[in-house]
Structures are given as C-alpha cells and as structure tokens.
C-alpha cells in the first residue's frame, strides 16, 4: 500500500508529475486553486500507486509527499 498527498494550493499545474507516473495515476483538474492554476490530483481507485516517488522527485514546487 502506498499513496501520495498533493498540496493543492501549492501546485502550479506544470504536469511534470503526470508525465512520469508509470501508471498514469495523476490527472489535471479543470478547476483552479488559490493561485489560479489548474492543479493535479491522484486518481487511484484500485490502489496501484507503488510509492516509487518519481512524481515527487520531478515536482518543482515540492508539493507532493509520498507515503508507503
């Protein structure tokens, strides 16, 4: 079991995390956050996140925390 927590209002919607997740578990929302960016969320209904940390490694705004 693993998961990630994305700090919604720190995200700038650069989608670099979306591109590196091996399972495509991160999706960009249409709605905007406090900063005015279309933030991203984890969509992992089947619990496929492995906690590989790739998304957090590339995030320039350090808004992803990974749990395992």
């Amino acid at each position: 079991m693993a998961t990630i927590k994305i700090e919604r209002d720190k995200c700038k919607g650069c989608v670099l995390c979306v591109d590196v997740c091996p399972y495509g578990l991160i999706c960009q929302e249409k709605a905007i956050n406090d900063q005015g960016y279309q933030y991203v969320v984890l969509e992992d209904p089947d619990g496929r996140c492995t906690g590989c940390t790739l998304c957090a490694v590339v995030c320039p705004d350090i808004c992803i925390e990974v749990f395992k």
Partner: protein, 250 residues
C-alpha cells in the same frame, strides 16, 4: 503508512514564486536535502544572486545574504575566511555567474576557496527579461537575439564547468541536468558530494545544473524538459569533470 518522501527541513512552507515548471524549485530541494543530510543547517549561510533566485531567503530556513549582481563568490570568500566554521554556499544563475560575475567565480575557484557554488544554467537571463546570456545556445532566440544567437557577432556559448575544471584550485566540478528523475537523482548525489567536500575542508566545489526556463524559452513545461535532452545536453555534456581525493593545502 510512513512518509517516504517529504520536503526537507531546510526549506520552509512558503509558496515559491518561480514560474510553473521552472527548475529552480527542484534545485532548492536538492540543496535543502544536502543541508539536512549533513546536519549543517544551523551553521550554513547561503549567498543569493541577482536573478530569479533573488528571493531565496524566503524559502530556506538558514541565513541567506544577498550579493550584488555576480558577486556571490566574493561574498562567500569573505564569510568563509572570517568564519571558517560556517558552511557557505553561493547559488547563482548563468547571467549572474557566467557574465557579470565571471571574474569573481574564476578567481574564487582559482584560489580554491573552501565554498560550494551551485550554478543554475538555463541558457537565458530569467528575471531581467529573457536576454541572451553567455550560455545561450547558437540559434536560440532571446529578447536581445531575436533572430537567434549568431556565432559571428555573439560567439560560442560558454562551458563553465569544463573551464573551471582546468583551474588547479578547484576540487570538485560536475554538471547535471534537472529533467528526468534519473538525472535529478544524479544531480542530488553531486550536490551532496559538493557539500561533503566543504564539510571535510577539501576546497572549492562547483555543481552546474541544466534547468528549464519555460517562460523565457516560450515553451510549455513539457517542451522545456524535452529541450534539455535534445538541445542542452548535446552542447553541455553531463558528468563529474574533476574530483580531488585529498585537499591541496588547507
């Protein structure tokens, strides 16, 4: 479940002002992780450049001093010589380090000052409005090279890491790219090594990082990451150019 990846303690919770997809945030994190790893946060002072990282005092939980444009290596020299017990790092962009502050970086490196310099090379002046930098690639359009950098009038892009590696005074010189997770992890290792050199009084350490500037490249974050691999790395090769095993004279 336990956290396996969290923000380093060396950084605070402020929202960074950098543009979406900008490489500065990743470099800040890697420096912060090094300060955590060696447990040196309470005796570290950073020197900020003039450039996009000018506000880095807002993000680090250690003292940061602001140097005039290009002068962080000179300010770092003064601090380290008067307080050798402190860990001093300079953080500079390519306009700051390779143009305005070229004399300061070359002489600090040549003297083998026991400081660490983190050099963020995104091939363009960022904060001042996207002008051509000494590192701008041939053909690259900027606000001061609207038809692309021209070899005949502007010369070749400068390779700082290779140049500093030729100086006897330098102890550790490397270049890495902030693009793929694998390259970011290599950059992390080198930044750790650079701080370790200073902790062990091994002399001058320098890590150049190829990063994106989506705003002044006129590209999306995605396209910028691709440009690092396709255009920057072929001209600015990655690797560790120099690593001394023993200190010269400290």
């Amino acid at each position: 479940m336990k956290p396996v990846f969290s923000k380093p303690k060396a950084l605070n919770d402020a929202v960074m002002h950098y543009c979406p997809g900008c490489g500065h945030g990743v470099v800040h994190r890697l420096v912060g992780e090094a300060l955590d790893h060696f447990d040196i946060l309470d005796r570290t002072v950073g020197v900020a450049p003039v450039g996009c990282a000018v506000l880095m005092y807002d993000y680090f939980n250690c003292d940061i001093i602001e140097a005039p444009h290009g002068r962080p290596p000179a300010v770092a020299t003064g601090m380290k010589r008067s307080r050798p017990d402190l860990i001093i790092f300079a953080y500079q962009g390519d306009g700051d380090l390779a143009s305005i502050g070229l004399a300061e970086i070359v002489h600090a490196a040549n003297r083998g000052e026991n400081v660490t310099v983190i050099f963020v090379n995104n091939t363009v002046y960022g904060m001042t409005g996207g002008q051509m930098a000494p590192t701008t690639l041939l053909g690259q359009q900027t606000t001061t090279s609207p038809y692309g950098r021209n070899l005949n009038t502007d010369g070749y892009p400068i390779r700082m890491a290779e140049m500093l590696a030729t100086l006897e005074g330098t102890s550790y010189v490397a270049r890495h790219a902030i693009d793929t997770p694998a390259n970011i992890l290599r950059a992390r290792k080198s930044i750790f090594r650079a701080f370790e050199m200073q902790v062990k009084d091994m002399g001058f350490s320098f890590v150049e990082l190829l990063t994106t500037c989506p705003t002044n490249w006129g590209m999306s974050s995605r396209e910028s990451i691709r440009r690092i691999k396709e255009e920057l790395i072929p001209y600015f090769p990655l690797g560790v150019f120099k690593e001394k095993e023993v200190a010269d004279y400290i």
